[in-house]
Each structure stands twice: as C-alpha cells, then as structure tokens.
C-alpha cells in the first residue's frame, strides 16, 4: 500500500500505509519537517474502541479518549484526553498533507460572536439593547437554570448587533441569545 502523510496541528506524520480497521500496526516517521530536528521513526500498533484508542509504542501503551467539536468557522477540531493520566489537549486539527490548514487568523473579517445558552433554562432579564457598546465581562443576560440565576457576561468587548432572546423565554442548550460584533 502507498504511504500516507497526515498533519496534526501542522506537524507532519508519515505513515508507511493508511491506518485502517479497529486493530493494526504501522510504521510512522515524524519530525523531519522541523528545522534542525532529527526525524524519528517507530512501529505503532493500535486498537480503537468506542471512546478512543490505545496505541503501543516502543516505550509502552498509551490510551486516549477523544471528542470532535466544530468551531465557529465550521471546522472540526479534537479534544484528546489521556487515559490513566492528566494530560488533556484541545484544538487539535488533523489534515492530509498538502491540504491547506486554514488558520484562525486568515479568516479575514471578524465575524459576529454568538452568545449561546450553555444549558436549558429561562431568560429572566435582558440587560442590553441592540446597538449598545459592551465591555468584556459586562453582564448581558440573566438566565435561570437548575434553580440558579446565572449572569451571562460578555467574553469580549464590542457592539450588540442583535438580541434574539426575550424576557421570560424558555431556551434549549445552544440557542443563540445575542450577537456581538
């Protein structure tokens, strides 16, 4: 089978063949793309399960749980959590070598930031109006959920472009409440 090159956050990994199936082994080479770095290579065996993967390396067996998330630009990114350990990584991207890895800074004009409901609940009060300038950490809405009142604060300064939430409204997780630009 042909070789396959994959990039994780820009770091190139060169596989002796495309990894396929629940279990398998493959030769991996990496580190060659970095200036001054010595390329490393080793044999990896793997087993994927319902929530992640185990890999056997020359120094032992490591397990990782994973989760795919979609960012505001609609691109997938991964969260990786080490099993039997404390290491956790977010914002990991995987791409085929040659594919352009669009970076957050290249996305041109700044899009409106969506303020979303983190859990189901009821809007108790809306504290801002459309067109109002807000500063970071300024309270925007008061939401009641799990019998607690929670202030939703601005994560960045800007102008309120649109208010979608209304007082007394019941909202589901992920519902868009406000747009800040």
């Amino acid at each position: 089978m042909s070789r396959m090159k994959l990039k994780v956050n820009g770091q190139e990994l060169d596989f002796s063949s495309p990894p396929m199936g629940e279990k398998g082994s493959v030769q991996v080479q990496w580190g060659a793309s970095q200036a001054g770095a010595v390329a490393r290579s080793c044999e990896i065996s793997w087993r994927v399960d319902e929530s992640g993967i185990w890999i056997e390396t020359p120094t032992g067996v490591k397990g990782f749980d994973w989760r795919r998330e979609i960012d505001d630009d609609n691109r997938p990114q991964y969260v990786l959590i080490e099993r039997n350990g404390a290491r956790e990584f977010s914002l990991a991207r995987v791409s085929r070598a040659g594919e352009s890895e669009a970076s957050a800074t290249s996305s041109g004009k700044k899009k409106a930031l969506k303020v979303k409901a983190q859990m189901p609940g009821k809007i108790v009060r809306v504290l801002v109006e459309e067109g109002q300038e807000v500063t970071k950490d300024q309270p925007l809405l008061v939401m009641e959920a799990m019998k607690m009142e929670n202030e939703i604060r601005a994560v960045q300064s800007g102008r309120v472009q649109k208010v979608k939430a209304t007082q007394g409204q019941a909202v589901e997780t992920g519902a868009e409440l406000l747009l800040i630009e």
Partner: protein, 521 residues
C-alpha cells in the same frame, strides 16, 4: 434472622446516597425499598434495593418531595423505617411528623430539634443562648433592600445576602458596596422564592480569606452527644463544596480553638437532645477565630471523610439508633487516624461550573488501597437533568495529608467519564464533567500545601482555563499526535463506509464485504 422478622427500610432518596444507605441497611439484615420517579426508572439506586416503588413524575415536587406518595410506598411495602438521605425530605419537619402519624420510624432527628436547629434564624437564636460565637448579622430576616443596606452600613462591607430558608448556595450573594445591594437583594430574594417558596433574606458580615469548617456530631436523642472531628470544605465553586477533607489543615494549626469548636457543637447537640448524625458549620479566619453558620440536621454528602478517619459507618449508627439498638460510644473511645479527602465528580462544565447533565457512554472508576467510590452511575446511562448532577464521590485515606493528596491524584487520573460518541468522535448529548478541573485541583500548589480558602477557585484563573493546544513541542506529545491521526483516519473510513451504504441502501453483508475488500455481487 428469619424472613418474617426481617425489618424493612424505605430509602426516600435517589442517586449515590440511596445506594450507599442500601448497602449498609442490607449488611445490617434489613430488607430495602427504593422509590423512583419517571426519570429514574432504570437508575442504579432502583436496582440496589430489594424492592422498588414508582412514586410519580420526574419533577421532585411530584415524586421525591411528595410526602403522601413516599409514605404510601412505605405502607404498601410494610416498611417500618424511612431513611431520608440528604436533600429532598431530609430536613422537613412536617415529613417527620407525617411519618410518626403513619406509624413509621424516621431515621434522623425529631421534628422538634429539626425546627429548632434547621431554620437558620431559629438556630442562631438557639446558639446565641448557649454563647456560641457567630458572625455579626441581622437579628432576623430583613424585609427589603433598604433595611439590608442600613444593616450593611452598620457592620461594614463586604456583606453576604442569604436566603433564610436556603442551602447549597441558592439565593446567596456577595455585596461589596451600597450601589450593588438593591439589585442583589431583588435577584437573590426571587431566586430563594423560586427554590424554597420563601423569599426572606438575612444579611451578615463577610469574613475575608475564610475557611469552611464543620463538626460532625452524633446524638442519642436523650441528651447524649459526641463529635467525630471536623471537616474542612473550603474549596467551593458557586458556593457549593467540591473538595472536602478531615482533619482540617487550618484547624490542625489551632488545636485549642478546634477543641472549643467541638465543645460548642456537642454542647448544642446535647441541649436540643439531638438524635442521629448532624453537622455544625462554622466559618473560620486565618487566626483560628470561628463563627457558627448553621446546623445541617441530616447526613452530609461529605460524611465519608469522617467515616474514613474515625473508622465508623455513620449510616449504620443512624439505622441502629432508629431501631433502638444503639448505645452511644464514649468520646474517649473514638480516635481519629490519618487524613481523608473526598471530591465530587459532577456533570458540569469544568470551565464555567454550569450543570451539563446528559448521557454517559463509558465510565471507569478508580480502585486500590484506601480508595472509595460512592457512585450514582457505574455504566452507560443518563444523568437526568431534573436533579443534582452529581455522578460520584471519590474518597481516599492516607496516614498523612500528603499521602492522601497523592492518592487522590492517582485515583482521579484513573477515572474516566465519557459521553457516547458517533464514529466521527462527535459527542452525543450534552454531558460534560468537572473531572479535568478536579485533576488540576489535586496538583494545585495551594491544595498540596493545605492553604485552602473558599475563594481559591476564583483566585486562580488557571484552574478554569481550556486545555492547552497539542503543539508537538512537549515531551510525550508525539504519542498523542500519532494516536489522534490514526483514530481520525480509522473512524473517518468507517463512517465513510457506513454513510455510503446507507445512501445506497446496501445490505449489511454487502457493507461487510466492502469493508473486508471482498466482492459479494
């Protein structure tokens, strides 16, 4: 004991505490009865008991808080005893009276001592009479924000607004200046009204760099009472405890003050003829001054740490006392050994601490010497959104505090709770857990040192920041990079096969053939 004479205990609760009570009750030879709502039909506490009775819809008011239905379930199953656990009906005097009226034995204090100590304003009057120190506060509930402001000006800001009927941080607000007090009063009073049906508030001076210390007591109901040492529960988020330990690292430095604290708690418990397990909560400053906050007239969530250091089963004591088979040990016969820590694993966002209940796909708990897990969920299941989103309590014991912290660190690293996932890795449902936060806590220098105040979490933003990026620059990153690349590749192939097959309506055999690279058509 023959089957006919086997006494029956109904557990009027759910989740981990119902399972914990059932374990002890069964070991004591009791037959156990669970109650459950719609949301809990297949929950584990239902299976932990010998029998289970359906008591109504998911909303607590229509099931776990419904006195008639709980008592009816006890009558139908011939239960003589009712254990309330914590929360729900555990601190409602009218429930105790309803039990008595129905000829049932409530496992806990009398309605009278519950009224005397359970209501914060009543409890303050009681401890004042017995000269227990108290934080300067309004003598009673304040009717409006103007009155609250007048009182706050007297004792000086910052002050704390608290719901008279409250608990668990609901209806509680810190106020730093007069300009904030009116809005804060309005919102916490409304929150209290919604949560407890009572919007009355009181005001007290806020202690800076405070520690939350509490004393576990046990009374025989006849005027005898002992203490089982203190717990420190200073590490809190949203005014709710998340890391609890015994003994308190702070009070270890003030053994004389600690002894006075024990004396106060035992004195009050004797005076009100307290029956069973109860907790006196204090706030302490860094000079060892302590002030009474409130009494909880029930078993606490964090009781395992006291069980670890005292070597006793508090639930067994409660049940035996209710059954008239308990004699209170002498204070001198109890010795506390080593150090114990408990953490609460919650279905909540680890960065914002907002509840995030949902489906659990896979779960793995720690094990090993001196490690205990009290779990509500031990397999793929749902954390219902109707109740407190606690998944499990992990507690450990060590000969020293350092040993206990180290053991907790390892135990948390062994723990996994993951949502169910699609082949692409996309999580199904809304579950998040505070596990990553707890792991950071166990490594935090102030936690390791035992320098914990109630504002620890708010004072260090690093505890609640997103996980770092996978840069490839750190030692060991390469394994994670390779693992992710393989996993993503394998899964995208599998979901690709699945997708194309469902699009074309191929049979399962054809899919298999395609996957294996065999021609079947």
């Amino acid at each position: 004991m023959s089957t006919e004479s086997k006494p029956t205990l109904l557990i009027a609760n759910r989740g981990e505490i119902a399972i914990r009570v059932a374990r002890t009750a069964k070991a004591l030879g009791f037959s156990t009865v669970a109650v459950y709502s719609d949301a809990d039909r297949f929950s584990e506490h239902v299976r932990a008991c010998d029998q289970a009775i359906y008591i109504g819809p998911s909303a607590p008011n229509e099931s776990y808080l419904n006195v008639e239905r709980v008592i009816d379930a006890a009558k139908r199953t011939g239960a003589k005893y009712i254990h309330p656990g914590y929360g729900f009906l555990s601190e409602r005097p009218h429930f105790v009276e309803a039990c008595e009226k129905a000829g049932l034995v409530f496992v806990g204090p009398s309605a009278e001592s519950m009224r005397l100590m359970g209501d914060k304003i009543q409890a303050r009057a009681t401890v004042d009479r017995l000269n227990v120190p108290r934080v300067p506060g309004s003598p009673g509930a304040v009717p409006d924000s103007a009155e609250a402001a007048r009182f706050a000006a007297q004792v000086g800001y910052p002050v704390l607004l608290k719901a008279a009927a409250g608990g668990g941080g609901k209806g509680m607000r810190r106020v730093d200046s007069e300009s904030e007090i009116h809005a804060a009063f309005e919102s916490s009073s409304r929150e209290a009204l919604g949560a407890f049906g009572d919007g009355s508030m009181y005001v007290e001076k806020l202690i800076l760099r405070p520690h939350h210390i509490e004393v576990q007591v046990f009374g025989d109901g006849k005027g005898g009472a002992i203490h089982l040492g203190e717990r420190e529960c200073s590490i809190q988020r949203r005014h709710q405890k998340v890391w609890e330990e015994s003994p308190s690292p702070l009070m270890e430095r003030f053994s004389e003050a600690r002894q006075r604290m024990f004396d106060c708690a035992v004195h009050v418990a004797r005076e009100v003829k307290y029956a069973g397990a109860g907790t006196f909560e204090f706030v302490a400053d860094e000079q060892g001054n302590f002030y009474f906050l409130e009494m909880n007239t029930r078993l606490q969530v964090e009781h395992p740490v006291s069980e670890w250091v005292n070597g006793v089963d508090l639930v067994a004591w409660q049940i035996l006392l209710a059954a008239g088979q308990f004699s209170l040990p002498k204070q001198e016969s109890l010795t506390r050994r080593g150090s114990s820590i408990e953490v609460r694993l919650y279905a909540e966002d680890p960065l914002t601490f907002l509840p995030a209940p949902g489906a659990i796909g896979s779960v793995q708990y720690p094990s090993g010497a001196f490690v205990r897990v009290d779990a509500a969920v031990t397999e793929a299941a749902e954390v219902p959104m109707h109740y407190d989103p606690m998944i499990a309590k992990v507690s450990v014991w060590g000969a020293t505090r350092t040993e206990a912290v180290n053991r907790m660190r390892v135990a948390l690293d062994e723990t996994r709770v993951e949502p169910p996932k699609k082949l692409s890795g996309e999580a199904q449902g809304s579950l998040k857990t505070n596990l990553s936060f707890l792991k950071r806590l166990a490594r935090h220098p102030r936690v390791i040192e035992g320098d914990t105040t109630t504002d620890l979490i708010a004072s260090d933003p690093a505890l609640t920041q997103p996980a770092p990026q996978l840069t490839g620059q750190e030692k060991g990153d390469w394994e994670a990079q390779i693992a992710l690349a393989i996993l993503q590749q394998v899964r995208s192939q599998q979901s690709g096969v699945l997708q194309s097959s469902t699009q074309q309506g191929l049979s399962g055999w054809a899919v298999l053939a395609r996957k294996e690279g065999v021609r079947s058509q």
